[in-house]
């Protein structure tokens, strides 16, 4: 990896009362990378992502996103990023197009551009027939693909995905990762959290979290080598023990 990091976190700490959710996290993410945050439920992944997105303030630490400071320049950061939360967050009672249009307009995109881009997107996804269907009427896998497409619709520099593939079947997950690769090819930096270890292998680099701390950070290949494992599942089990 080269150049300056697009995300840099130094000593990121977040406490809720006495509970330390993130304990001195240090990591850099470079432009164009697919960076994975791996860990069991409750390891502190979501807390960290929410801080990076500007949804919550860290207790201490120096964090910069696309060159902006998370304490003072959250609104500038928000222009540069996309976010797909664990809690599924398209509007149930709006149609596919209405959802895309709503978010795109908030990011200041022109109506005409939104129209053509939506058509291209839905054609690419093979989903043009569902343009006017309400979100509540389409299957979960599709909802997630749409949520991701919406999150990168305005061409952000970075997109944060928090457990994007929770609860879907392996085939849909694979398709979802195809979308991630496509976005990555366009130059969007991907920051993804997951507890599926096979997905860890799709990332350029992963950091493994356990009880609020980063316990390992490297490329999947290097980690497998270091821990003499054949897959990331093994790596994780060895580290977590």
């Amino acid at each position: 990896m080269n150049g300056t990091p697009i995300i840099s976190a130094k000593n990121l700490t977040k406490k809720f009362g006495n509970f330390v959710a993130n304990d001195n996290l240090n990591f850099d993410v470079y432009e164009g990378e697919i960076f994975g945050f791996i860990g069991a439920n409750g390891a502190g992944k979501t807390t960290a992502v929410r801080i990076l997105c500007g949804l919550s303030f860290p207790t201490s630490g120096a964090i910069k996103i696309a060159g902006f400071d998370v304490y003072k320049q959250t609104e500038k950061i928000k222009k540069q990023i996309g976010y797909m939360s664990q809690k599924f967050s398209l509007y149930d009672d709006l149609t596919v197009y209405e959802n895309i249009r709503f978010y795109a307009k908030i990011y200041g995109m022109k109506t005409k551009e939104i129209k053509t881009k939506t058509e291209d997107l839905l054609n690419e996804l093979n989903f043009a027939h569902a343009r006017d269907k309400k979100i509540r009427d389409i299957p979960l896998g599709w909802k997630q693909k749409l949520a991701f497409s919406t999150a990168i619709f305005h061409n952000p520099k970075i997109v944060f995905l928090d457990e994007p593939t929770g609860g879907v079947d392996p085939i849909t997950r694979r398709q979802f990762w195809d979308l991630i690769y496509k976005a990555s090819d366009k130059g969007i930096t991907i920051f993804v959290t997951t507890h599926y270890m096979d997905e860890a292998e799709y990332c350029d680099r992963v950091s493994i979290m356990d009880q609020g701390k980063i316990v390992a950070l490297d490329t999947p290949v290097n980690l497998m080598k270091e821990y003499h494992s054949r897959n990331m599942d093994d790596v994780f089990i060895k580290i977590a023990r």
């Binding site: 949804l55 928000k78 990023i81 996309g82 976010y83 809690k87 398209l90 709503f102």
Partner: protein, 372 residues
Amino acid sequence: MRTILTIIQKEFIQIFRNKTMLPIIFIVPVVQLLVLVYAANLEMKSIDLVVIDNDISSVSSKLISKFKGSPFFKVRSSISLKDAENEMKKEDADVIMLIPQNFEKKLITENASEIQLLFNAINGTTASISNVYCRMIISGFNQDIILNSGNLYPELATFETINIENSYWYNPKLDYKIYMSSGILVILVTVISMFLSGINLVREKEIGTIEQINVTPIKKYHFIIGKLIPFLIIALFELAFGLVIAKLVFSLPILGSLWLLFGVAAIFLITTLGLGLFMSTIAQTQQQVMFIAFFFMLVFILMSGIFTPTESMPDWAQKVNYINPIAWFMRVIRMILLKGSGFAQIKKEILILTVYGISVLSMAVWRYRKTS
């Protein structure tokens, strides 16, 4: 501006798709106006009067027939005070009138005679009103018998009479419904605006969509204003709808300018909508918003002077009422509708409502946090 329009567009789509909200928006005003106005009626129509006539004279029976002739009383007779009191205990009697023995005799020989009236005073208000009606009939009757026997008492001619002419302006028939329905219009827009806006934002919290909004670079005041305007429009529509119903059913007079009315209403609604949004920035669940809103509305509405005159409240309560936007709007709407007051007469109220609107709205914007 474009962002605000985007949010407004989205809210309207959602409101019109919501199958439970739409009927509520249309049914609430009808139910509130019809039921409330007819129910909230302090006009006494049938005061249950139980008479115990121990005199059975011509004067006592004339007096009783006076009561029987009045549209306000339903007269029954009873033999003993005990029976009558039992009826009152069962809520079957509002007033007991006891005419003692020798009532007529005393009246003629001693020039004065007593009647006892016993009121069921659990409801103090209706008891006092019943009292006023009873006294009106009795003193009217008394004047009649004095006049009829005028030639027997020559000194009466020197009596210096003050004659009182009494007229009621703006509502000569003393129709209580006009007063109530104008007040209910205020309740209507308050309830609708506060609940709808309050529940709306917290719902986005509950289902999680607020997060997605919060990661966008949207400006806080854009978001709040975008949330506010759709409900402002709906509430104004409700006001218009309510006015039509009140006009048709209760012949509510509209003496003042409708433009002025809707203008003040819009200013007032900014306050209530702002309060709703403010509450939903504090609350976590719809249930909480419901209860908080319910609590404040109950207090504000009861103190607003909808049923009772605000001047009768103790001083401290009248001071508290300065921060009660509903009380101000209640005054204004009645002044415009029933008396035809114009801008010049309600300048002060408008100014105060404007100050509230701006401060509440800024509070809501300030309290809404994109980052926690």
